[in-house]
Structure formats: structure tokens, C-alpha cells
């Protein structure tokens, strides 16, 4: 592979796979809100 092809492969890997890893970490660290709007007490978690 040429240098420029490797560069673009790395860019793709970092942005796309990095985006996947970042979005998973973001979700895992804060899977849900701490506070919900009015009426949330009437909505069960499993509804």
C-alpha cells in the first residue's frame, strides 16, 4: 500500500471506528438521565 492509501485508511479507522468506540463509552458512562420531566413518576421504567 502507498503512503497516501495508508494515511486514508488510518483516517477512516480513527474517525469511524473511533466514533464507534467513543459513542459506546459515552453511552456506557451515562446510560440514562438522572432527572426526567414532569410526570415521569407515572411512567414505569418497564413501560
Amino acid at each position: 500500500m502507498s503512503g497516501i492509501a495508508i494515511t486514508f485508511f488510518v483516517i477512516a479507522a480513527v474517525l469511524v471506528w473511533g466514533g464507534l468506540i467513543a459513542s459506546i463509552i459515552f453511552l456506557a458512562r451515562k446510560p440514562q438521565l438522572d432527572v426526567y420531566p414532569e410526570g415521569s413518576e407515572l411512567v414505569s421504567d418497564d413501560d
Binding site: M1, S2, I4, A5, I6, T7, F8, F9, I11, A12, A13, L15, V16, W17, G19, L20, S23, I24, F26, L27, K30, P31, Q32, L33, Y36, P37, E38, G39, S40, L42, V43, S44, D45, D46, D47
Partner: protein, 527 residues
């Protein structure tokens, strides 16, 4: 009175609680299973290569961020807030004055009906080729085997001559998919995805690693990733990028609306959507590597350049080029098993999601169970699928119907939904506030701008351009009378189906529903 009681049995139009995914990751895996389909494997690599190689990644990523993810958020917001199948959700979104918006939902359902009947046939072909891989049954002339011996293709038309080699696996695919659908969301659709998606990833990764060690693999990757920057000034390359993102993410034809309607009311909506979108693109990059490493090997074996190869996308790539490569490769049968096994799993989970849109809509409208929908509606669709696509004209019908259903049907539905939701019913602020009220990743005015202006503008350009081409040039040299029936007739069926279904009476009142959070609460949150 609880919100569930106020909203008519948990916001469902049926007389029982709406089904739910068993958790966040069950939903995410199922949504990824829907998005990752045949197009990721056989469409993305060739489209990227033909549209600037490495440079294609620039418009591709811009399209992902400016259109793919915003429309995915829109679908999730509609399904999650209005808690129903596509027709139910759009009807509720329209309110008292906009009950007719249900027809947009049925338009999406009919697109899914059309797609399901031919998509099942492709899964059946892949399943057949999975078994053919064991003894490399396609021989040396892979094109002749596929179109001749296997499909027994005849001239364009509507044949009543069945091909048993297609009919039998097609019936088996329908039996399997309807059995899963009839088992419901958590025990059926989710369970199938939890099994098949990891298996697909593992199988495909093994295939990619094997491909990377083939002679010529690096030449193939060089061809895929070397950028042609001049392509960036070509509008058609940008349209190709938006098309790829749009068709790949399963957006704008009801799937993501339906899937998000099965999430609980407090579920985080946007953050999982980011995982789904990036997972889908991640798989496309992996597929690109696997496919082009393999094509590099094929070019090396033939003593030609990668740019001289033909059949590097779609049906030809999978059922003509790949079998030829498998035949030449050491350990070919194993490679074929992995490749066609991956196609079957990717196709099966996507087919499930397409049919879930149909099943869910019929369950809501007629108050039937998943099992009843699977038997009554599913068997009818299976019959049409067998009649049209297991005959000697099946592949030509499939090719034509696919062209119109995707490029006219889905794109038209996307334009209609973005314009109607954002501009006519002005639901952008409410949906943005809804997303922010339950999600950890917030959206603002930029999201509304992307969904309401950029996305419909790009999609409208795509639609007009495609209509002009189809009207002036026809398609694949097929006779005009045939295109009028199989192509434009498909759009007519979708439109008539949407109008007819909207006119039918509901079993349970879909308007007996109160969204949560209330519109008032959302206004206060937005201040």
C-alpha cells in the same frame, strides 16, 4: 391515573401492553442488525472505489453527520414519542387535523412489503450459495452458472415457470423469518439479532483476516484507499455518498420508527442512535477491506489491475465475482462458507426488521397479535414472493422493483416525512425537546436545520435526477412496457396500498393516546 392508563393501555392501540426490547443493548444490537445488511457488504466497497477511493470518505463522513444521523434521530424521535408502528405514529403526530398523515406511515409499510418479497429471494440465493460453497458447485463459468443453471433466467416478463432451486430455499427463508416474527419482539426479533449479529461480525472478521494474507491483497486495499481528490468536485460523488449513507442506515421507511416504538418511555434515544450509526459505518469499512483485499487477490491471479475487474458491486460481486475468486483461492470452500454465511445472516436480520414494520402496522390497525400477523400477513407476502421471484424471470423483476422501490419509493418517503414533519406540522421543536428530555446526547436548532433543509434538498435532487434518468433512458435496456408494470407499477401499488389501508377502520382507537412528556412540559424544558 397513570400515563399508561391515560394513553390507552401503555400507549398501544391494541388491548394489551406494547411489547418491549428487554434492554438498551438488545435494542441496539437489533437496530445494528437491521442497518447492517447486504448493502454494507456488496454496495459500499464498490461505491467507494468508483467515487474517489479514499477521498470518498470525506463526503461519506459528512453525509453521515449531516443527514444519516439527523434522520436517524428523527425516526427514533417519532417512534419513541408516539409509540406505535409507522402509521400509528404519524397519525398521532398529525393530531386531530392531520389524521391523514397515517397514509405516510402506510406508504412506508408498503415500501417494506415490496422490499420484503424480493429481499427474501436474495437471502435464499445466498443460502443456496452457502451450501454450494462446500463443493464449489458453480464450476469455472460463475456467470453462466448463476444466471443460467441456477436462476434459469429468461427474457424480461412474468414467467410462471418455477425454479425449484430457488423456490425451496425461498420457502425455507419465509418459514424461518415468520417463525421469528411470530415470537414477538424480545423472544423473536431481539433473540435472533443477539445470536446472528455477533456471529456475523466474527465470521466476517475471520474472512477479512484471511483475505489480508492473500497475494495481491495490499494492491486491492491500495486501490480502495488511494484518494482521487478530483472526485470531490464532482456533484455525483457527493450524491453517491449521501445515497450510500441513506440506504445503508435503514432510515425513512419505517424500520427505525417501529423499532424505537418498542423502547420504554424513559429510554435514552440519541446516544444509542450514535452507536448504531457508527457501528453500521464501521462494518462498511471492514467490508471494504475484506472485499478489496479479495479483489486484489483476484486481479493478481488474473494478471490484471484492480481497475480492469468487472462486477465489483451488487449481485454480480456476490454471485459471480466472489464464487470465481473462491474457486481460485487456497481453502476456497471455507472462504465461501464464511462469505455466503455472512450474507445470509446480514440479510436475515435486515429482512426481519423490514417485516417487523409490516407486522407492527397490521397489529396496531387490526388489533391482532404478532403470531396472527405473522401467519395472516406473512403467509400472504410469502406467497407473492414465491410467485414473483422463484420463477425464471425472478432476477429481472427483482432488479427492476428494487430500483424503483429504493430510488423513488424510499427517497420520496424521506422527502415527504422531513417536509411534512418539520415544515407542515412544525413538529421540529417538539421532537427535539422530546429527544432532549430523555437522552444524554442533546440536539438543538442545527438538528432541525439539517433535517428540515439540508436532507430534503439533497434527497429532492437525488429523486429528480433519478426520475429524469429512468424516464429518458429507461433501465438496463428492459422494454418500456415492462418498466411501466414492474417499475412504475411498483410505485402505483405502494400509493394505492397506502390510500386503501388508511381508509380502513381501526380495531382500537389510535387517537386515545397521551404522549409523555406532555407538550407543556416540553415547552417549559425548552425555555
Amino acid at each position: 391515573m397513570s400515563v399508561q392508563q391515560q394513553s390507552g393501555e401503555h400507549g398501544s392501540v391494541a388491548s394489551r401492553p406494547r411489547e418491549q426490547w428487554s434492554g438498551q443493548w438488545g435494542f441496539i444490537l437489533s437496530a445494528i442488525g437491521s442497518a447492517v445488511g447486504l448493502g454494507n457488504i456488496w454496495r459500499f466497497p464498490g461505491v467507494a472505489y468508483e467515487n474517489g477511493g479514499g477521498a470518498f470518505l470525506i463526503p461519506y463522513l459528512i453525509a453521515l453527520v449531516t443527514a444519516g444521523i439527523p434522520i436517524l434521530f428523527l425516526d427514533y424521535a417519532i417512534g419513541h414519542r408516539f409509540r406505535g408502528s409507522s402509521p400509528t405514529a404519524f397519525r398521532r403526530l398529525g393530531g386531530k387535523a392531520g389524521k391523514w398523515l397515517e397514509s405516510l406511515g402506510w406508504f412506508q409499510v408498503w415500501i417494506c412489503i415490496i422490499i420484503a418479497v424480493y429481499y427474501a429471494a436474495v437471502v435464499a440465493w445466498a443460502a443456496s450459495y452457502f451450501t454450494f460453497s462446500f463443493d464449489l458447485r458453480w464450476g469455472d463459468d460463475t456467470a453462466g452458472f448463476f444466471f443460467g443453471e441456477f436462476l434459469q433466467t429468461s427474457d424480461p416478463g412474468f414467467s410462471s415457470q418455477f425454479v425449484p432451486a430457488v423456490l425451496i430455499p425461498l420457502v425455507l427463508v419465509w418459514v424461518a423469518v415468520l417463525a421469528v416474527l411470530g415470537s414477538g419482539i424480545a423472544k423473536g426479533v431481539q433473540r435472533a439479532n443477539v445470536i446472528f449479529l455477533p456471529l456475523l461480525v466474527v465470521a466476517f472478521l475471520i474472512l477479512v483476516v484471511r483475505a489480508l494474507f492473500l497475494d495481491g491483497a495490499m494492491t486491492g486495499l491500495d486501490a480502495l484507499f488511494t484518494p482521487d481528490f478530483s472526485a470531490l468536485s464532482d456533484p455525483s460523488v457527493w450524491i453517491a455518498a449521501y445515497s450510500q449513507i441513506f440506504f445503508s442506515l435503514s432510515i425513512a421507511f419505517g424500520i427505525m420508527i417501529t423499532y424505537s416504538s418498542y423502547r420504554n418511555r424513559k429510554a435514552n434515544v440519541t446516544a444509542p442512535a450514535l452507536v448504531v450509526a457508527f457501528a453500521n459505518s464501521s462494518f462498511e469499512i471492514i467490508a471494504g477491506i475484506g472485499v478489496f483485499a479479495t479483489l486484489g487477490f483476484f486481479a493478481f491471479q488474473q494478471g490484471v489491475g484492480v481497475n480492469e475487474l468487472e462486477g465489483i458491486t451488487g449481485v454480480s460481486l456476490s454471485f459471480v465475482t466472489f464464487p470465481a475468486i473462491v474457486s481460485q483461492m487456497p481453502g476456497g470452500p471455507f472462504f465461501g462458507i464464511l462469505f455466503f454465511g455472512s450474507l445470509v445472516m446480514a440479510g436475515f436480520t435486515s429482512l426481519l426488521s423490514v417485516l417487523q414494520v409490516v407486522s407492527s402496522a397490521f397489529q396496531d390497525k387490526f388489533g391482532i397479535t404478532a403470531r396472527q400477523a405473522s401467519i395472516r400477513v406473512g403467509v400472504a407476502l410469502a406467497t407473492v414472493s414465491v410467485l414473483l421471484f422463484s420463477t425464471t424471470t425472478g432476477v429481472i423483476t427483482l432488479d427492476t422493483v428494487d430500483q424503483w422501490a429504493n430510488n423513488i419509493g424510499i427517497v420520496g418517503a424521506a422527502i415527504a416525512s422531513t417536509i411534512l414533519v418539520i415544515w407542515v406540522f412544525r413538529k421540529g421543536p417538539e421532537l427535539a425537546a422530546h429527544l432532549n428530555s430523555v437522552s444524554t446526547f442533546k440536539v438543538g436548532r442545527l438538528w432541525q436545520l439539517l433535517v428540515g433543509v439540508l436532507a430534503p434538498a439533497v434527497l429532492l435532487y437525488m429523486l429528480i435526477q433519478r426520475i429524469i434518468v429512468l424516464v429518458t433512458e429507461g433501465y438496463e435496456g428492459y422494454p418500456l412496457w415492462y418498466l411501466a408494470i414492474a417499475g412504475w407499477g411498483t410505485i402505483a401499488v405502494i400509493l394505492i396500498g397506502a390510500i386503501t389501508m388508511t381508509a380502513l377502520r381501526w380495531k382500537h382507537d389510535p387517537d386515545d393516546f397521551t404522549p409523555w412528556p406532555s407538550a407543556q412540559a416540553l415547552k417549559e424544558l425548552s425555555k
